[in-house]
């Protein structure tokens, strides 16, 4: 394996993340353990979106749907007394993949603005579905009766154990996606984004590959949903709110489209920014109260002026685009 400067920096970040529990304990600030775990969970969701958006050019505005499906899979099973983690998370991934397959079958044929609007509309549909099912909390949501149980393997109620599980999953997924985008499959996706007409002319029909990527991305995001509901111990339809989809897209952009490190950097940047705006003591209260206003302003400025995202600040890889 070739270790470019970028890979080393990414490894550095992961090592830092691994050190967080110890640092948090040392400084007696368990909040940071929680925060960085949350960042990592969203990094997983963001890296799944990066697969189809960053590398595939598919502007899916409905990706939060899979956070919801994954979370609800866990939540609903828990509500009915099934707490086996493997079963729950397996269903979360499977259900998300299935939903992605159904939505994707209809949407992936379209492109451009149609695709954006359609993915958004389907997510909203799931959101309304979530709200209207009273048994699972409806509008208010549902407390998770018990965290996902994995027996002696790992105890999620132990914050540090849960933290390292998430870190492990994040690292594994980063590696898997990295291999995926450089495989033949990944090349087709990236080629179709780069020049669709050319791709068809050499004999590749993008549709099956894009659909597969869409399903894979949905499945990974479903896992993130399962993690998220264990993180918050609470389930609400808001997981599928379209603004959540927008946040995920911003994480991908802020971090840098079509890069490996991007989703992690973007998730960290956005969540830390939101956190700062909402509670940093150095900012006045009128910023805290209307923090989304300032977030909005920053986001607009970033889009207008900072195209390449944070990963663009990292040293360039030789020979063109990141792989």
């Amino acid at each position: 394996m070739n270790f470019s400067a970028r890979t080393l920096i990414l490894l550095g970040f992961l090592l830092l993340l691994a050190a967080v529990p110890a640092l948090a304990a040392a400084f007696k600030e368990p909040f940071y353990l929680d925060l960085f775990r949350r960042i990592m969970i969203f990094a997983i969701a963001a890296l799944s979106l990066n697969l189809i958006l960053g590398y595939g050019g598919m502007v899916s505005f409905g990706h939060a749907a899979y956070l919801g499906v994954g979370a609800y899979a866990v939540g609903i099973l828990a509500h009915h007394g099934i707490h086996d983690g493997f079963l729950q998370w397996g269903l979360a991934i499977g259900a998300s993949a299935l939903v992605a397959l159904v939505i994707g079958a209809v949407s992936v044929r379209t492109s451009g603005i149609y695709f954006i609007m359609i993915t958004l509309a389907f997510t909203q549909m799931l959101y309304y579905l979530g709200i209207s099912i009273k048994e699972y909390g409806g509008d208010d949501g549902l407390r998770l009766a018990k965290l996902s149980q994995f027996g002696d393997l790992v105890d999620l109620s132990n914050p540090t154990a849960f933290y390292y599980l998430v870190l492990g999953l994040l690292t594994l997924l980063l590696l898997l996606v990295q291999r995926l985008v450089n495989s033949r499959f990944g090349m087709v996706i990236r080629a179709a984004k780069s020049n669709e007409a050319r791709t068809r002319a050499i004999g590749l029909s993008p549709y099956p590959y894009r659909l597969a990527a869409f399903v894979i991305a949905g499945a990974i995001c479903g896992l993130a949903g399962a993690l998220l509901v264990n993180q918050t111990a609470y389930l609400t339809p808001d997981f599928m709110n379209w603004t959540r989809s927008g946040e995920l897209m911003f994480m991908v952009i802020l971090g840098g489209i079509g890069t490996t490190a991007g989703p992690l950097l973007g998730a960290a940047a956005l969540l830390l920014l939101e956190d700062l705006l909402q509670g940093w003591s150095l900012l006045p209260t009128w910023v805290h109260r209307y923090w989304q206003l300032y977030l909005g302003i920053i986001l607009v400025l970033v889009v207008l002026f900072a195209k390449r995202g944070l990963a663009g600040l990292l040293p360039e890889r030789k020979g063109g685009k990141d792989g």
């Binding site: 033949r184 002319a201 050499i202």
Partner: protein, 249 residues
């Protein structure tokens, strides 16, 4: 008698009131180099696009090696051996030159649902790609990002990608478009080496290229083929001279 490789029957395509292709009958024999010439706006690219499958004709049929391909989409036609190069360079600008050709090789190497091995490490993709780059004259530029190639080199890359799909027929849309004299000559010399081995349909404006390469020429004017025959016949044809060559000489 050489077999018919590609045939269009009564092909018709209109954009609103404008008939870009107005009832065209066209046939290409195996192994020949058949040029299509015509004034600007004659509908040449529209015609080629219908042959390659990027545009659907309103009426008419297209046959490739005897098979009716009218309802096949572009990727399927490419897999059957109908390769196309574009008039306006259409390559993968952000990939390297070698990547570009390797993708074309990959497209014809079965399905691409392989998720683990890095495509750039696969010899069965890289080596044929390198060989084609050498053949076309771009061997030394393999690692250069395609966007950084000179215009003429990009045109060469277009041809290379078409060749990488192991075609039985090449549809070349103005291969020397925008090239200087020396570059055009080299391209023509290269295309000459393909003659006989490949069946070629060549759309071109450059008359030197056309007359040195073509076995047969068809003249397309306002969506209709007004003449078709050997280069000498075309040169002598008064209608053609009036409509087209007359303006040039």
């Amino acid at each position: 008698m050489a077999e018919t490789m590609l045939e269009a029957r009564a092909l018709h395509k209109a954009f609103g009131a404008l008939a870009a292709t107005d009832g065209v009958d066209f046939e290409v024999r195996a192994g020949e180099t058949h040029a299509i010439i015509g004034p600007n706006g004659a509908g040449k690219t529209t015609f080629i696009s219908q042959l390659s499958g990027t545009l659907r004709p309103d009426r008419g049929q297209i046959f490739f090696a005897g098979e009716d391909i009218t309802s096949l989409a572009a990727p399927a036609r490419s897999l059957k051996g109908l390769a196309r190069s574009f008039q306006i360079t259409s390559i993968y600008r952000d990939f390297s030159t070698l990547d570009n050709v390797a993708l074309a090789v990959q497209a014809n190497a079965g399905h691409s649902f392989h998720f683990w091995r890095a495509a750039r490490d696969e010899k069965e993709l890289r080596e044929p790609a390198r060989a084609i780059l050498e053949e076309v004259g771009l061997g030394a530029r393999a690692e250069v990002v395609a966007a950084n190639l000179a215009h003429g080199e990009q045109r060469q890359l277009e041809i290379a990608m078409a060749l990488a799909t192991r075609p039985r027929l090449l549809l070349l849309d103005e291969p020397v478009a925008g090239m200087g004299t020396e570059e055009s000559q080299r391209m023509v010399e290269f295309l000459a080496t393909l003659k006989g081995r490949q069946t070629i349909v060549l759309v071109e404006h450059d008359m030197d290229a056309v007359f040195s390469l073509a076995d047969r020429i068809s003249v397309l004017v306002y969506g209709r083929i007004i003449a078709s025959g050997s280069p000498e016949q075309i040169r002598a044809n008064p209608e053609v001279r009036a409509a087209y060559l007359g303006e040039e000489t």
